[in-house]
Amino acid sequence: MVFIGGSLTLFALRAPGMKTGSLFAPISREGALVFNNLFLTTAAATVLVGTLWPLVLEAFDGSKISVGAPFFNLTFGPLMIPLLLAVPLGPLLSWKRSDLMGVVQRLYFVAGAALLVGVIVLAYNSGGNVLAALGLGLAAWVILGAFAEIWARSGLPSVSVSVAIARIAGMPRSGWGTAAGHFGLGLTLLGIVSVSAFQQEVIRQVQPGDTISIAGYDLRFEGVSPNKGSNFVEDVVTFVVTGNNVTEHRLMPAKRVYTTRRMPTTEAAIETYWFSQLYVSLGEVAKDGSVTARIWWKPFVTLIWLGAMVMAFGGIVSLSDRRLRVGAPKPSRNKIKVASANA
């Protein structure tokens, strides 16, 4: 209460001093920031209402409803699409007043490449989900678009390479931060779309010697062997992975029981191949040595986390920009006077 009330009071006291001095046209960098905040705030509000509405409803008439992943996919997802479409445009817009057509023209190449990606996916994945092609096209748009500002600043191809390099080297760090942030966002998007569209799953009961094929990998079930740890006993299941240039790689998920607490757990086995992962989880281990296995192939799943790291890195680079390092500017005396006069 003290903190929230205090900060609100402070805001109320100082608000009249916050004269918005700047004017800007709707199509401008400021306009893009407003657009950005509009959609992100709405998305945040959607999550808030989705979380609280079941509680509110129960308090009012005692009826219980559930709000889960399908609701958020249907509301949060569409909110992100205009935002993602606008991401590459943002850094290219100039402050105060900008020319949308001029910015779009600079992105012709990126748009063409993104369309090409979409068409290729559609062709290879014919009969599959159209959303996959749209999603990957969008990811290409964001990823390539992240570098559009650097490309534009370099002046290529109308200047020599050495001039271009000098120009790029002289770019403010906030520009690099923006590029890294947007690139990371694109990577995360690529990961999400790939996993949701191309994830594969096999659920099967296997006998020793059986082979499960998934996404070009063959997993041969070798057998179950008991093992004893310091405070648990486990049945270790061995799968040998071959295929896709992998030679005899062992995946060993296990069913474990912590003896003192009588707590059974399942230890999944995860192996990362490039940016994708093979994930093996176990169901029942039967007496006859057969095992129920659930195996996922999650393409580009690690990009989701890697993208977030790149975004964080972009933020750090941006914060290290010289203009931000010198510290916050002092408030002008006028504003303080206005505030105290109002107090």
Binding site: A25, P26, T42, P70, F72, R97, M311
Partner: protein
């Protein structure tokens, strides 16, 4: 924003515990994929906001089997959902239906976006200085053009 995204990604991608068992899987792949899609929209009543597709609880298993039985009996997706709602109430749906009671839930994103957008437009309009950003006079335009020409 990053944290928000991260939370949503976690919700979207939470790796389920061992759920669907091989003996539940239907022989007809079209029916099975419909069953999986439906299962992802149905709540396991005894779990913490898990779908029956993700849960290894025995109740979730019973519901999965029930969904498959209804599908095999020839029900449409909507009929299966109606059947479950009639027995377990709307609590079983992870995506609440659009109704008067849930209007706030469904309308908030749309309404907020429209209202905030209108507010921004109104705010832009309300500032007189914005509407009369000085346009260059013909004379000034010509002088600029002349200057630009000379530079080239």
């Amino acid at each position: 924003m990053r944290r928000l995204l991260a939370i949503v990604f976690l919700v979207l991608l939470a790796v389920p515990a061992f759920a669907v068992q091989p003996d539940e899987v239907l022989d007809n792949p079209a029916l099975e994929s419909r069953a999986r899609a439906l299962s992802a929209e149905l709540r396991c009543m005894v779990c913490q906001n898990q779908s029956i597709d993700d849960s290894d609880a025995s109740l979730a298993r019973d519901l999965r089997v029930l969904v498959r039985e209804r599908l095999v009996a020839g029900d449409s997706d909507e009929q299966v959902l109606d059947y479950l709602v009639s027995r377990y109430g709307e609590f079983v749906l992870l995506k609440p239906r659009l109704s008067i009671r849930n209007l706030v839930l469904w309308a908030t994103p749309v309404a907020l976006l429209i209202l905030a957008g209108l507010a921004f437009i109104a705010w832009q309009r309300s500032r007189p200085a914005n509407s009369k950003i000085a346009v260059l006079s013909k004379d000034e335009e010509e002088r600029i053009a002349a200057l630009l020409d000379r530079k080239d």
